[in-house]
Each structure stands twice: as C-alpha cells, then as structure tokens.
C-alpha cells in the first residue's frame, strides 16, 4: 500500500479511538455547561454557569464534600506513609523472616473483591463508634492504599545504591543518620509517587466510603453518585469534572514520577 493510502484505515481506526475515549468525556463536559437540555435537542439548548454557581456557592454541599475528600485523602497519605516507609525500608534492606508472605499480605486488599469486606468492616466499626466518622473512612482508605505505599517504597529503597549508605557509615554516621541524610532523600521521588497513588486512590474511593462513611461523611464521589441517581445531571457532571482534574493530571505525568529503575523493582 502507498504510504498516503495507508492513512485511510489508520485514520479511521484512530478516529474511532478518539470517539471512544473522548466522546464520553465530551458528553460530561456538555452536561456541566448545559443549563437546559431536553429531547429532541441533540445539543444543549442553553449554556451557562448557573449550576456552577449553585455547586460552588459558599457553604454549599459540594465545597463541603470537596473539603471532606481532601482532608480524608491527605490524612490517608500521612497515615499510609507513616507506616509504609519504615516497612518499605525493612523489606528492602533488612533480613526478615517470611518476607514474601509479608509482601503478599499487603496485596490482599487488591486480591479479594473488597465489597463484602467493607460490609463487615462497617459492622465492626459500628460497634467501635467509627462508622460515619472521618477516622473510620481514613482507616479503610489506608488499608487499600498500603499496597502502593509499601510496594513502591520498598522498590524505591531497593533502587538506592547501597554503597552510598556504606560510605556514609564509614565516615562515622550512625545508621539512623545515614538513613535520614542519604537513603531517604534518594528514595524520596519513589515515595512521592506512592503518595500520589495513595492520594488519588483515596480521593476516588467510593465503595468503602459508601458503607463506612454513612450517614455523616459525604465525599465528592458520594455526592456525585447521589446527584446522578437523583437525576441532577448538571450537578453530577460538574462534580465529576472536579474529580477528573487530578486524575488526568496524574495520568499525564505518571511516567515522570515512576522512574524505570523503581518500576523494575516493584513487587520484587
């Protein structure tokens, strides 16, 4: 086939992919800016920002949910890193019995369908007074994020050149000091990557929050879901767009965050 002719099938396939990827997103964007849209009109009848004002009005539901979501996500990152950085270091550098089993334990929340587990966590949390609290939701998100926290920080520590640590030790630095001044800074980009994963995972989490957060904790995904079920497509679309921003940003930069040397060691 001539090079120019080869662009015909190629163009059709790429066009279909563009339609499949961006069509649903375009529909969402249209709904976010549609003030009136009803059958048989193929496009919104009037556009405007009326619903944006409604969503972002001071002390409105959406701003409150956004704040709740961010507080939960940041707390989840802090809780997750606080326990996974030490664990990652130990798994990468120190001798541990049953190391493989320990690594696999962190994978369990991803290896089992989690909905049935959330139901039972909610039941147990109810007895502990943790249902409907931010703390309860943070705990649930932390468990789910641990696999990123532990596996990626283990990989990040494993990718740090051991000779640099030995050099620090040989000029008299204590084990703790060489960790704080040499190992941790070198592993920091990988740990940052795991933090972003944990943050996004928490920000986007729906099912666990649905069972454990009721009735008092409404995160952005829950608000979006409620609006959609109630048929408020504009409100749902606007909240969905807000949730899209961090997802798309991270998708665009994910490879810069996760360097190949760290990627190669994930799960090892």
């Amino acid at each position: 086939m001539k090079p120019a002719l080869a662009w015909i099938p190629r163009g059709i396939v790429l066009g279909l992919i563009v339609f499949a990827v961006f069509g649903p997103l375009a529909n969402l964007a249209l709904w976010a800016f549609a003030e009136q849209w009803y059958y048989p009109h193929k496009l919104p009848v009037t556009y405007g920002l009326r619903f944006w004002n409604q969503v972002f009005k001071p002390r409105g539901d959406a701003l409150e949910s956004l704040w709740t979501s961010v507080v939960i996500a940041v707390s989840t990152v802090v809780a997750c890193l606080a326990i996974s950085v030490p664990a990652g270091y130990a798994l990468a550098r120190l001798k541990l019995p049953a190391r493989t089993l320990i690594m696999l334990a962190f994978l369990l929340p991803q290896a089992f369908p989690s909905l049935a587990v959330y139901i039972n966590i909610a039941r147990l949390f109810y007895g502990l007074g943790l249902n409907g609290t931010i703390a309860g939701v943070v705990l649930v998100h932390t468990v789910h994020g641990l696999v990123f926290g532990v596996w990626i920080s283990t990989a990040a520590f494993a990718a740090v050149d051991r000779d640099l640590e030995l050099a620090a030790r040989s000029i008299g630095a204590s084990a703790f000091r060489s960790f704080m001044t040499v190992t941790l800074p070198l592993a920091a980009p990988g740990i940052m990557a795991s933090a972003v994963f944990v943050f996004l995972e928490s920000l986007d989490e729906f099912t666990g929050t649905y069972f454990v957060g009721v009735p008092d904790v409404t995160t952005l995904p829950l608000l979006m879901f409620t609006a959609s079920i109630a048929g408020n497509y504009q409100i749902a679309a606007i909240t969905a767009l807000v949730l899209l921003v961090p997802s798309i940003l991270f998708m665009l930069v994910v490879e810069r965050f996760l360097k190949a040397d760290v990627m190669a060691k994930v799960g090892a």
Partner: protein, 277 residues
C-alpha cells in the same frame, strides 16, 4: 546482634498489623458469617437463599466480568502490539497519547460519563445519526449489560494496556527483527513471538482488573437499574434494606470463589517473583 533481628520486625509491624486488623480480620468475619445463622449455628441456608434469589445475578456477574476481561485482554494486546511493532511513528505516537486517558478516572465518573453518552438520546447515538451512520428510528440505548461491559472496558483497558505495552517495550528486539527478516508478518510476530513473552504480565493485569470489577458497586447501579444486576448491588441491597448479613456474606463468599481461580494466577506470580530481594 539481637537488636538487628528485632528491628526489621518492629519496622514492619505497624503496617502488617493494619492489614491484619482492618482487612484479614473482617475478611475472616465475612467468611464465618456466610456459614452461620442468626443464632450462631453452622448452616448453609444463607447460600440456599443467595442461590434462590440471586442465581441469575451470579451468572450475570460472571458473564459480564468474564466478557469485559476478555475484551480488555484482546484490546490491550492489540494496543501494546501496535505500539511495539507499528511502523508509522506518527500513528504510534498518536495511539500512545490517546489510549491512556481513562487510566485514573474513578469508576463513578466513568459511569456518569457513560450514563449520558450511551443513552438512547445520548451523544453517541446523536453523533452517529448526525454522521448519517444510523437511522434516527433505529437508535437504542445501551444502558443495560452492554453499558456495564463498555464502561468496564473503557476504564480498565488503559491500565492493562499500560502494563502490557511496558512489558513489550522491554523485550529483546533481536528475535522480533530476526522473525521480520525471515518474512513473518506483524500479526504473526505479535502472536507467536511477543505475546508468549508478555503472557505473565498480561495475566497479572487481567486478574487485578477482574478483582477490581468484581468489587464495583457504582457502575451497575448507575448504568443499569434493571434486573438482572450484579451481585455487588444485591449485597448492598441485603444490608441496606434487611440488615441481612448472612445472605450478603454468602454472596461475598461467592464473589471470592469466582475470583479464586483468577487470584490463584496472581499469587503464583507473586511468589515466583517475590522471593528475590
């Protein structure tokens, strides 16, 4: 040297205890609850009720997830294959830029996009009618099992394709070039040379994807409100309307069992790769 033996355990303990207390324990609780009645006696009535009410939904769930997984696998190999073997740099670059967009989009957002896009008078049908590809009288909504499959594939494909494309990119190119020099076509190189070498990565991606889809509650509720539905919806219904933990956990047990085979692949891979420091 007594300290150095305890220190690693101390460092790992908080993370490990968290998983054990907040995942393994509730998981065990769910397994036990599935097999006991309200009085605490061992029984199979929860399963009897689960099958009596939800046999169709169990089958429906399995078919939807199996179909979605198969489509994701097929398309991920096609995307990875084109990115690896494609000869036109511009087309390869365009595909590489395009396929990843839904990667981190949450399921609720994907469901909301599809809920409007796939409706009878949604943007998809409207665009097809406007392009003259579809008769306005023929339009039909896809908001049933097909919508769920489309949403799952849309959302999960970039993840599996990313893994597969990454594995393909790190292959030794000499065998590919050798096959090409011997006159093998690209589809044949993909199936006979590239695919066997990335099989493990593909399986891992598909199993993780399978487990994820098995836990999604928002998509079946938002895409298709009708019966049959997926067992995640049934579990939520048993809890919210009847506080019926027995039947919900029996359904949960069935969802573990359905993923059991899939998880087995994954654990096998994890052990074979996880022993090395």
């Amino acid at each position: 040297m007594k300290e150095s033996r305890i220190l690693p355990l101390v460092l790992v303990a908080p993370a490990l205890v968290t998983v054990l207390a907040l995942f393994v324990y509730p998981l065990g609780f769910s397994l036990v609850t599935a097999f006991v009645d309200k009085a605490g006696a061992v029984t199979l009535t929860n399963f009897a009720r689960a099958f009596e009410f939800y046999a169709n939904d169990i089958l429906f769930t399995l078919v939807i997830i199996a179909l979605s997984t198969a489509l994701v696998g097929l398309l991920a190999v096609a995307i990875g294959g084109y990115l690896t073997l494609g000869e036109n740099p511009a087309a390869v670059a365009a595909l590489r830029w395009l396929y990843r967009w839904p990667l981190f989009i949450p399921f609720v957002v994907a469901a909301q996009c599809m809920r409007t896009f796939l409706a009878k008078n949604g943007l998809m049908n409207n665009s097809l009618v406007a392009m003259g590809l579809l008769d306005p009288q023929q339009t039909a909504g896809l908001l049933d099992w097909r919508g769920i499959v489309i949403t799952f594939v849309w959302k999960q494909l970039p993840f599996v394709a990313l893994l597969v494309a990454g594995a393909m990119a790190s292959l030794d190119r000499t065998t590919i070039e050798a096959a090409r020099n011997l006159g093998a076509g690209r589809p044949r190189i993909l199936v006979e040379i590239v695919l066997p070498q990335v099989r493990q990565t593909l399986l891992v991606g598909l199993v993780l994807s399978f487990v994820t889809m098995m836990s999604v509650l928002s998509v079946p509720i938002m895409i298709s409100g009708e019966s049959p539905t997926m067992i995640t919806v049934d579990m939520a219904f048993r809890i919210n309307n009847y506080g019926d933990y027995g039947t919900a956990n029996a359904l949960g047990f069935i969802s573990y069992a359905l993923t059991g085979v899939a998880a087995w692949f994954y654990l096998k891979r994890g052990i074979s790769g996880g022993g090395k420091p």
